[in-house]
Symmetry: C2
Subunit: 345 residues, 2 copies
């Protein structure tokens, strides 16, 4: 009988990596994915933690992601564009491959974009954003998903939950980072309500007939709503344009058509833009990083929270004290390790 267990971060990382290796992923895929899954768990971001392992294995079992993918760095057309072909694998190893060159180009030109093509995406974009901020660069990242969100004024799913993420480096501390779905809620959150048997808050979703609903199942069969009405809807549409049509990759509708289900991780591309604050500020008064700190102090000083603040507190705690998983979660890891793809219904 399992009990709750507290793992050092590195131990949990090795354990998750082993699950993926036994399930048939090559080293480059397994390493990157395990890192992002454990990062979610470490940051107390449960909807992007070990709960996601089953979905990735299900996607693998369905033949919708390549376990032996070897991402390749391509010479982009136009020096400010860097392209990584994910080779049908997960987005994370493709990002890891491109980050160094992206940072180099952003420092040289002032700004550069990393396009990831042909990837399966299952994690939060803060992972990519924090990679870029760790290079001392600001970052905007976005990607489509699969059609689960109705445009404002519409009555059926077309857009994805289309995350929009941003990061700003803070010397000597955690970066300023936000990363949110452009739907009112992330699909993972609705899934958690469904599992808990709880009704959704009002305004999150419409049913298959286009009527408002608080039933998670009806919502999953219908459509979610964009955050902030027509404004969030517009941003979600922008994300379809810039990180699907523009980069020559699947949009949310095409991804859903390709998969035939929302039970698998979506396939599409990603757009990650890196900015060099030093370059942009050159010749102007003031240090951009110092000026940003003054802004953050003014936000926190009036009692408002910075986004990701709780996540970073959880990270600091986990780094010190380890990550505690419940008995059920430990049993899940054991089962996924021992049974591999056979554990997936």
């Amino acid at each position: 009988m399992n009990q709750a267990v507290t793992f050092p971060v590195e131990t949990l990382l090795a354990r998750v990596e082993a699950i993926y290796r036994r399930a048939g992923l090559n080293m480059v895929q397994a390493t990157s994915i395990a890192r992002v899954i454990v990062a979610g768990e470490r940051d107390a971001c449960k909807s992007h933690g070990i709960y996601r392992i089953e979905g990735t294995l299900r996607t693998l079992k369905a033949g919708k992601v390549r376990p032996d993918a070897q991402p390749r760095l391509l010479a982009g057309e136009g020096e400010a564009i860097l392209r990584v072909d994910a080779d049908g694998g997960f987005a994370n190893p493709a990002f890891d491959l491109g980050l160094g060159e992206l940072a180099k180009r952003a420092r040289k030109l002032g700004m550069a974009a990393l396009v990831i093509n042909d990837c399966t995406h299952f994690s939060a974009l803060w992972s990519e954003v924090e990679g870029v901020t760790s290079e001392g660069l600001a970052c905007i990242a976005m990607c489509p998903s699969y059609s689960t969100v109705a445009p404002a004024g519409g009555n059926q799913a077309l857009l994805g939950t289309n995350p929009f993420a941003f990061g700003w480096p803070r010397p000597g501390g955690h970066p300023y980072v936000f990363d949110f779905a452009t739907s009112v809620a992330a699909r993972g959150e609705i899934e958690l309500y469904r599992r808990a048997g709880k009704p959704l808050p009002e305004g999150w979703a419409i049913d298959a007939d286009g009527q408002p609903t608080t039933d998670p199942d009806a919502a999953l069969a219908g459509a979610m709503l964009p955050f902030g009405g027509h404004k969030g809807s517009a941003i979600g549409t922008m994300i379809e344009l810039l990180s699907a049509a523009m980069i020559g990759d699947m949009n949310s509708r095409e991804s859903l058509d390709y998969l035939g289900t929302t039970a698998l991780a979506p396939k599409h591309g990603e757009l990650i833009i890196a900015f060099s604050p030093e370059r942009f500020a050159a010749g102007r008064p003031g240090n951009p990083f110092d000026r940003a700190e003054t802004l953050f102090e003014a936000i926190v000083g009036q009692g408002a929270r910075l986004p990701s603040q709780r996540r970073f507190q959880a990270r600091d705690r986990a780094t010190r004290e380890g990550i505690t998983l419940s008995a059920e979660e430990v049993a899940l890891l054991d089962r996924l390790h021992d049974q591999g793809l056979d554990a997936i219904s």
Copy 2:
């Protein structure tokens, strides 16, 4: 006694330009400003039409914008960054000066940014966005404003209404364009409620004590709220970082400190990013513009509207039939023309 008058677009343009010339603006300033003011009126976007003339003249009278400013194109640090020094004048002539080179660099590199510094901004960003889309490029534009918006969870004004704008070129038609304040409402909208003596909708603002209010005066003395709760607040913060701290220009708080009032047009910078869809899509399947059209059809096909659709309809009508101003509006133009800065209290 004046009556309602219908002007051909070019006639109104000449009339507004004459107001600015008589008020002391040089040709480059007067031409660009008149064009953007008349564009607002033509598009039935009254909050950015001739109603704005008084505010610009008030800013001029207060000595907070230079009537003889000559924007200068500077060699940016980093080839993807182009900088225009607005020379303390309005943003629009600076943008007009930089657009051609911005487009050239975006086509060459795949992506480029135009930074405008030391400008007074009083118009909507869709003007800049449509300039970029007319070059066949996609565009993200943003700028701060002055502190009138509380961050989510806060109780006092810090952020500006910080517009976020995006455009995508549509061959043979009006572009896909959105441009919205990251506050629930634009400050101009609250001003229109105040003038009409009408209460604000719930959720737009807090008073000076941080309490919810529907009184326009209390809202103008307190703070507006971000759209979409913490998500809109995060985007508003991103805009302070990218288009103030990063580009070495005033943020919303600094701009308000500089002006000492919200009755004048704010001074700060602007960030305009141009993307070449051809470059980004190179080597990938599908034409990005065709794929975008399929998306727009799916949005419109389910009864949802594209942003700016009503604005473009108004534009087409005004281009055919002219712009009709009320008797009061015509009298305002006459007064501003004849009395110049003396008409400004």
